[in-house]
């Protein structure tokens, strides 16, 4: 999509494009042999470990890009045209202890719990904002013969730890997540995490279905489309992903993870939002500056708009989404993001430490399908976090 823009700006440039879901399979050999491509969209089924890339000095420092004048308004720097926090999200510490921006997260992603606007309207249900309401509604839904809540244990347990940790952030403030990301001692044992785990373990026990542990994300999502599941946690790519299977009038709607009690530190509107789809430029490629220029074109109004029109998702460039008619789900996510205002939080540990992600997924399944309790949950994830902290072969990140 952005190639024509780049070519208009640089008529002599040639762009070779290779598309794959298995990024690591295709590119690993090229990095290892010192011939990496200039520009990589490192997302999909199998993506390269950003931490390992940073540690090896494979990534181009993007400071120059962020400080460059933007395409549409040369008096504005590129960094001032995008959603705040996104530059920060792409920052990694190098081996010499400096923090530099290496990654451009391009797609705006809002996380929450999804439901069918139609199903809720037909039954006169409204999206709950606190946990008591949420449980009461789950009870009502259950009497209708619909499974109130579910996620796919076979391959998408991270959708659920996302919910637990989002709620923990609401209870104890965004620092709860910062501590987890920074591998602080006892970060997983913070009260907020334990309370959230307890709350959701109850949902798992009472309002979900044991068989979901053996299903893949698309299976459970399909069941929601068929009206057999009411609430499903995911990011705002869900609507696009389910396009083919969604019945007419389903109207995807997003609600933030409900707050636990009135004494939560963040308001009920607080939400997790982040940049998704990490793009980077390889420093050891033949033309890293060309790669950065390509990014600059992507971040122009036309570039962002073109992306949004093709994919139906919002980018981190707000100017690009202005006035665009999003489908109902993305529109509700954007509305929720707006309502959240400053209270937007994020977590990064899963990108930084894949092992911790794996452990959190496994432990989440154990918790939600009733094999361990909240205490054991925080205990075991903490143990893995401690092990990673001690492991000298793993590069540590801070934010």
């Amino acid at each position: 999509m952005h190639e024509p823009l780049y070519k208009t700006a640089f008529p002599k440039a040639e762009v070779k494009h290779q598309a794959t879901q298995a990024v690591s399979t295709v590119l690993q050999p090229r990095f290892a042999s010192g011939n990496p491509p200039e520009f990589v969209n490192n997302s999909g089924e199998k993506f390269l470990d950003f931490g390992a890339l940073v540690n090896d000095g494979q990534l181009q420092d993007l400071t120059e890009l962020w400080d460059a004048p933007s395409v549409d308004d040369p008096s504005k720097k590129v960094r001032d045209t995008i959603i705040p926090g996104v530059v920060e999200q792409g920052m990694f510490s190098t081996a010499d202890g400096q923090r530099k921006p290496f990654v451009l997260y391009y797609v705006s992603t809002v996380y929450g719990i999804w439901y069918s606007g139609k199903l809720f309207k037909d039954n006169g249900w409204t999206a709950p904002t606190n946990f008591e309401q949420f449980k009461a509604l789950c009870e009502q839904i259950k009497t209708k013969g619909i499974t109130p809540y579910g996620y796919a244990g076979a391959n998408a347990a991270y959708y659920q730890w996302n919910v637990i940790l989002s709620q923990a952030a609401k209870i104890g403030g965004p620092d709860v997540l910062k501590n987890i990301d920074n591998l602080e001692d006892g970060a997983w044992k913070q009260d907020a995490v334990k309370q959230a785990a307890e709350a959701w373990a109850e949902i798992g026990a009472k309002y979900s279905d044991k068989s979901f542990e053996g299903l893949k994300h698309t299976d459970v999502q399909l069941r929601q489309n068929q009206g057999k599941v009411a609430f499903y946690p995911s990011g705002d790519w869900l609507e696009n992903e389910q396009k083919k299977d969604t019945p007419a009038g389903f109207t995807y709607q997003l609600m933030p993870v409900p707050s636990l009690t009135a004494s939560d530190k963040l308001p009920a509107t607080a939400i997790r939002a982040a940049g998704g789809e990490g793009y980077f430029v390889s420093s050891k490629s033949k033309n890293p500056r060309g790669g950065m220029e390509y990014m600059r074109q992507m971040l122009s109004k036309a570039g962002a708009r073109g992306f949004t029109e093709t994919v139906g998702a919002a980018t981190v460039v707000p100017a690009g989404s202005e006035g665009f008619q999003f489908p109902p789900g993305v529109a509700s996510a954007q509305a929720a993001l707006k309502a959240a205002g400053k209270d937007v939080f994020n977590m990064l540990f899963d990108n930084w430490y894949k092992e911790l992600d794996t452990e959190a997924r496994t432990a989440t399944n154990e918790l939600m399908f009733g094999r361990i309790n909240a205490d054991a949950f925080v205990e075991r994830v903490q143990k893995r976090a401690d092990a990673i902290k001690k492991d000298s072969s793993v590069i540590k990140f801070k934010r």
């Binding site: 690993q28 390269l48 470990d49 390992a52 000095g57 044991k210 794996t358 496994t362 399944n365 072969s393």
Partner: protein
């Protein structure tokens, strides 16, 4: 003519040996080398000596996988060989004898083809197939039927103490056909007169099986046991595609190849993954050597 023999032989051997060394021996040697480093797949590896092996000792997932191999190592050959022997006995000598010639049960030729079917399917396809069979809700092949009768669905791959056995069942299902054919070939070479003589002495079918077929089939059985044992050390494709959460729930079905895959391609810990690979290499080797030694028996000449 003795003169030119060695250059001639060496000339022929050179190409295959060179290929074998380059593509088999050399990668093995490299794995040993990488297992002594903390290589993360991108830049130059650093030498860390036996650190990775020390780490293996208190890696819970590793020991879980080893334990599962232990279970599979006993159960997979035992069950597969028992079923395959039973079937091939029925297919070859289980029926009536006509004109002094032992016959299989009625329709034996047809069954032989059917039993071989799973062997023709790619392993990944089998795994996907069994995802449907084991599916825990009303659209699963087994549970769909159970739920029609108002029964609770069986959570084949979800119950931690059932998951490994569900995987084992698939492995057995897939392997039996091949061994039926292998044993059939072995039984076909047992002379009919021996059966005849035994029958005249009043041996029942059961006696025939244990006193005639089994001893004369010993060599074939031994080969089958080693093959199946080595298969039990693999199981990667089935576990990776079929199990919940990649060897789950909570590592209840994980195998070494799965852990190697995870460490190498998810965590980018190639050094550590190689150390696991080396461990697997020695386990497999030890098993093969032990089996061949322990099952050594004088083979019967006929």
């Amino acid at each position: 003519m003795r003169h030119g023999k060695y250059p001639f032989v060496i000339g022929f051997l050179f190409a295959p040996v060179a290929l074998y060394v380059t593509f088999v021996i050399w990668p093995y040697a490299q794995a040993f080398q990488i297992s002594m480093t903390n290589w993360r797949g991108l830049s130059a590896p650093q030498w860390v000596g036996f650190d990775n092996y020390r780490r293996l000792l208190d890696d819970g997932a590793f020991w879980k996988a080893v334990q599962h191999h232990g279970v599979l190592l006993l159960a997979l050959p035992l069950i597969t060989i028992a079923i395959a022997l039973f079937f091939s006995f029925l297919l070859n000598v289980g029926g009536r004898s006509s004109g002094g010639q032992r016959q299989g049960v009625w329709g034996a030729k047809f069954y032989r083809v059917v039993f071989f079917f799973p062997q023709v399917l790619a392993v990944a396809i089998i795994a996907v197939l069994f995802q449907m069979v084991y599916r825990p809700n009303e659209s699963g092949l087994i549970n769909g039927v159970l739920m029609k009768f108002g029964l609770e669905p069986i959570l084949f791959l979800i119950k931690p103490n059932l998951a490994l056995w569900s995987i084992l069942a698939v492995l057995v299902w897939q392997a039996v056909g091949f061994y039926v054919v292998l044993f059939s070939a072995g039984m076909a070479s047992i002379p009919g007169e021996i059966y005849e003589a035994a029958e005249m002495d009043g041996a029942t079918k059961v006696t025939l099986f244990f006193r005639v077929t089994l001893p004369l089939l010993w060599d074939t059985l031994q080969v089958a046991w080693v093959y199946l044992g080595i298969a039990a050390f693999d199981c990667f494709a089935i576990v990776a595609v079929l199990s919940v959460d990649g060897g789950g729930p909570d590592g209840a079905t994980t195998v070494l190849a799965m852990e190697i895959y995870r460490n190498a391609f998810v965590y980018s810990k190639y050094g550590y993954a190689s150390a696991m690979g080396v461990a697997l290499f020695f386990l497999t080797l030890t098993f093969a050597a032990l089996t061949l030694r322990l099952t050594k028996r004088e083979s019967v000449e006929y």
